[in-house]
């Protein structure tokens, strides 16, 4: 029974062995450095003997703490707990993958629906029927299924950096979604113009009319396209998408700058925020000096006139 259990938990046994060997290794390491830090073949002067003894004791203490930690960790119950945590990881990955797949499936369905509607939805000079549902689906999918992973609370010393990194990724994803919709909007008039051109050419062919210069067809196409763009660009749908794209761009830029600022803090380079504070002070000071100079000049002129 005992053997069976050990056999079943082979991973546990392996983990315990590894812990034990690591413990022994650090124990031996402590013993091999009796006169640390004068060890490793280095000779210290008598002045440093006391400090070397202190350091040796610290090393021993540190080693013991390390050993006890390892011993605790290598106890079968602790190993079991640790492995349970490891077991949970594939579950999490599976959940993420399942959610991603569900979302992707939903998205594909939307695309297929849209592809099926291709050429049937287009009306000339009318943008009320713009298919924004696909982009709404992408946005919803992202917000519902993915964004939450980036919003998981970060812990520990590096939590602020992790937060900023996650925020940058989040804002980037939002921006990419927004810009995709914006680009799609710009494609719509081209699609609509193609359909209108097709109709016009059919009409012309029926009447036996044709242009003998290709440039005339191009002129017709560009005129229709311009008309479509003029209608689109004035529409509230376009203004709304443009506004959202600009906002997403600015938010992404801000998040990115926050992240870069943190990196720059470790380098001898001033960040934009620091420079902006300095510029603001400079601006206020310059303005004050300018106003005062004008006042002084004005008073000088007045005094001269009075004399």
């Amino acid at each position: 029974m005992e053997q069976e259990k050990t056999g079943e938990n082979y991973a546990e046994a392996f983990f315990a062995d590894w812990m034990k060997s690591a413990m022994n290794f650090w124990g031996e390491m402590a013993k091999t450095q009796p006169d640390f830090p004068g060890g490793f073949g280095m000779d210290f002067t008598p002045r440093s003997t006391k400090s070397a003894e202190q350091a040796r004791k610290m090393w021993e203490t540190g080693g013991k703490i390390f050993q006890s930690l390892f011993s605790t960790a290598s106890r079968p119950d602790s190993v079991e707990e640790a492995l349970k945590g490891i077991d949970a990881v594939p579950d999490l990955i599976m959940t993420m993958a399942r959610q991603s797949w569900d979302g992707y499936y939903e998205l594909q369905k939307q695309w297929m629906d849209r592809a099926a509607k291709f050429n049937y939805q287009t009306k000339a000079y009318n943008f009320e029927d713009i298919d924004q549902e696909t982009f709404k689906a992408v946005r919803d999918l992202y917000e519902r299924e993915f964004q939450k992973f980036l919003k998981v609370p970060s812990l520990g010393l590096t939590r602020f950096y992790q937060d900023k990194f996650n925020n940058t990724i989040d804002k980037y994803n939002i921006f990419v979604t927004a810009i995709s919709e914006f680009i799609y909007m710009f494609y719509v008039p081209i699609e609509k113009t193609g359909v209108v051109m097709q109709e016009k050419l059919e009409e012309m062919a029926e009447q036996g009319q044709f242009f003998d210069d290709f440039k005339d067809y191009y002129n017709m196409w560009i005129k229709i396209l311009e008309g479509h763009y003029m209608t689109l660009l004035q529409s509230p749908e376009y203004t709304d998408v443009m506004d959202k794209t600009i906002q997403a761009l600015v938010h992404y830029r801000e998040a990115k700058e926050e992240l870069v600022s943190d990196i720059l803090r470790n380098l001898p380079v001033p960040t934009n925020r620091e420079m902006d504070e300095l510029y603001k002070d400079l601006y206020v000071l310059k303005k004050k000096v300018r106003d005062l100079s004008k006042k002084v000049e004005g008073n000088g002129n007045l005094a001269a006139e009075t004399k």
């Binding site: 044709f210 600015v250 603001k280």
Partner: protein, 420 residues
């Protein structure tokens, strides 16, 4: 067998001819593009006479000065003032100089991050005022002539309202003052733009972002058709040179100081404060009724950036009785660069300014003694005379002169009556 409705053979023949043309054009085009091209902008000789921070003042002196008052040109903060001096044959500056006008022009330079806090007040009551004082002192004159272009025109209107004693005549060209219109796409878009967010995120408004916005105003023409036109004319050296010059100018876009951009969008485009006399610059209210000097307001009938609706209200709102609207049959940039407008624009302004220069004392005395009019009548007549003269001047566009229009004058009187 029925005859096909479309003559395929003719189409094929045309295609063969076209391909020959394309081949020949490509051969010539490579010679043009690989050869030397004159594409420099702003080549008219000038001198930098004043400099403050990033701003510089250019001075153009004609061979013979025929005007007593120099003219200060204030360009917009968007794009560069080099547009007024694109090339020797199409240069507003050169044309002014030919008319004997001494020209000063503000070059706003390239704002950096340190300029992001500069407001409209800093530009109008700071840089512009210093420049005007500098020119007045240099010429020992109490007043100078002021001409503004687009946003620079709006700055000039603000300046003339706050410092009317320093301005002899005001000329506004494609200047937006009434922002309560949905005629131009820019007016529609700006109403929804979150300028605060852009200022926070970018500091200065990036020139490239604005340029992208301008291209999107008419993508079919500005992104596709324009370059198709270029490929069709690549074998024409003059065309290529002019095209490249224009490209250089269009994409030479300095950033706009963040605080100025935000204030212009919010106070002007979104709240329309300027035309309502509610705009404040550093606590000082801009009252258009303070603009009592003669005003010439020029704009383009087909301007898609600043439509006539955004320009024409100004002359009705100012305090001056000597005003004139001149609507030219062209667009926003065409006013300054089209060869047709080149013939009209500078001579029209020069003539209008000349008419408002004080006549020699001798002549004035003679007029007084012969007409025997009252002082008030003389004043009105003097204001009307140049306007009548300019009404008969040659022009391709339409024109409305307040002083010459009975309806406008009556309207003005009625307004004053109600007010009092």
């Amino acid at each position: 067998m029925n005859q096909p409705k479309i003559a395929v053979d003719l189409i094929l023949k045309r295609m063969a001819e076209s391909s020959e043309q394309v081949k020949s054009r490509a051969r010539k085009a490579s010679e043009v593009l690989l050869g030397p091209l004159e594409t420099d902008l702003a080549t008219t000789p000038h001198e930098i006479v004043y400099q403050e921070d990033r701003m510089r003042l250019k001075h153009y002196k004609p061979e013979k000065v025929k005007h007593k008052y120099p003219l200060l040109l204030v360009y917009a903060l968007i794009n560069r003032e080099t547009m007024l001096d694109l090339q020797p044959e199409r240069s507003v500056i050169t044309n002014f100089m030919k008319e004997g006008i001494e020209v000063y022009m503000i070059d706003w330079g390239y704002p950096t991050r340190k300029d992001q806090f500069l407001t409209i007040d800093d530009h109008v009551n700071g840089y512009m005022d210093n420049v005007v004082d500098f020119i007045r002192k240099r010429h020992n004159l109490p007043q100078i002539n002021l001409m503004g272009i687009c946003m620079g025109g709006a700055f000039s209107v603000m300046y003339s309202s706050l410092h009317p004693e320093k301005i002899k005549n005001l000329v506004t060209t494609v200047t937006p003052t009434n922002f309560d219109t949905d005629k131009g796409l820019l007016h529609i878009w700006m109403k929804q733009t979150n300028a605060d967010l852009l200022e926070e995120g970018y500091g200065n408004m990036p020139g490239d972002l604005m340029n992208l916005g301008f291209l999107l105003l008419n993508p079919a023409r500005l992104i596709i058709d324009k370059y198709i036109g270029f490929f069709e004319n690549m074998d024409n050296r003059t065309f290529v040179e002019n095209f490249v010059r224009m490209e250089k100018w269009i994409f030479d876009s300095p950033d706009v100081p963040g605080a100025t951009f935000r204030q212009f969008v919010v106070d002007c485009y979104q709240k329309n404060l300027l035309i309502q006399n509610k705009l404040e610059l550093d606590g000082k209210r801009v009252d258009l009724k303070n603009i009592t000097m003669p005003l010439l307001n020029i704009y383009g009938k087909f301007d898609h950036l600043v439509p006539p609706e955004a320009c024409e209200r100004l002359t009705r709102e100012v305090g001056s009785k000597d005003t004139e609207d001149q609507c030219l049959n062209t667009g926003h940039i065409g006013i300054y660069v089209s060869s047709k407008c080149q013939e009209l624009f500078a001579p029209k302004i020069a003539g209008w300014l000349k008419e408002r220069e004080p006549e020699p004392k001798k002549k004035k005395t003679a007029a007084k003694s012969t007409t025997g009019k009252t002082a008030a009548a003389r004043k009105t007549a003097k204001a009307e005379e140049p306007a009548k003269k300019s009404a008969s001047a040659k022009s391709s566009g339409s024109k409305k002169t307040k002083a010459a229009s009975g309806t406008s004058r009556a309207k003005k009187t009625q307004k004053t009556g109600t007010g009092s």
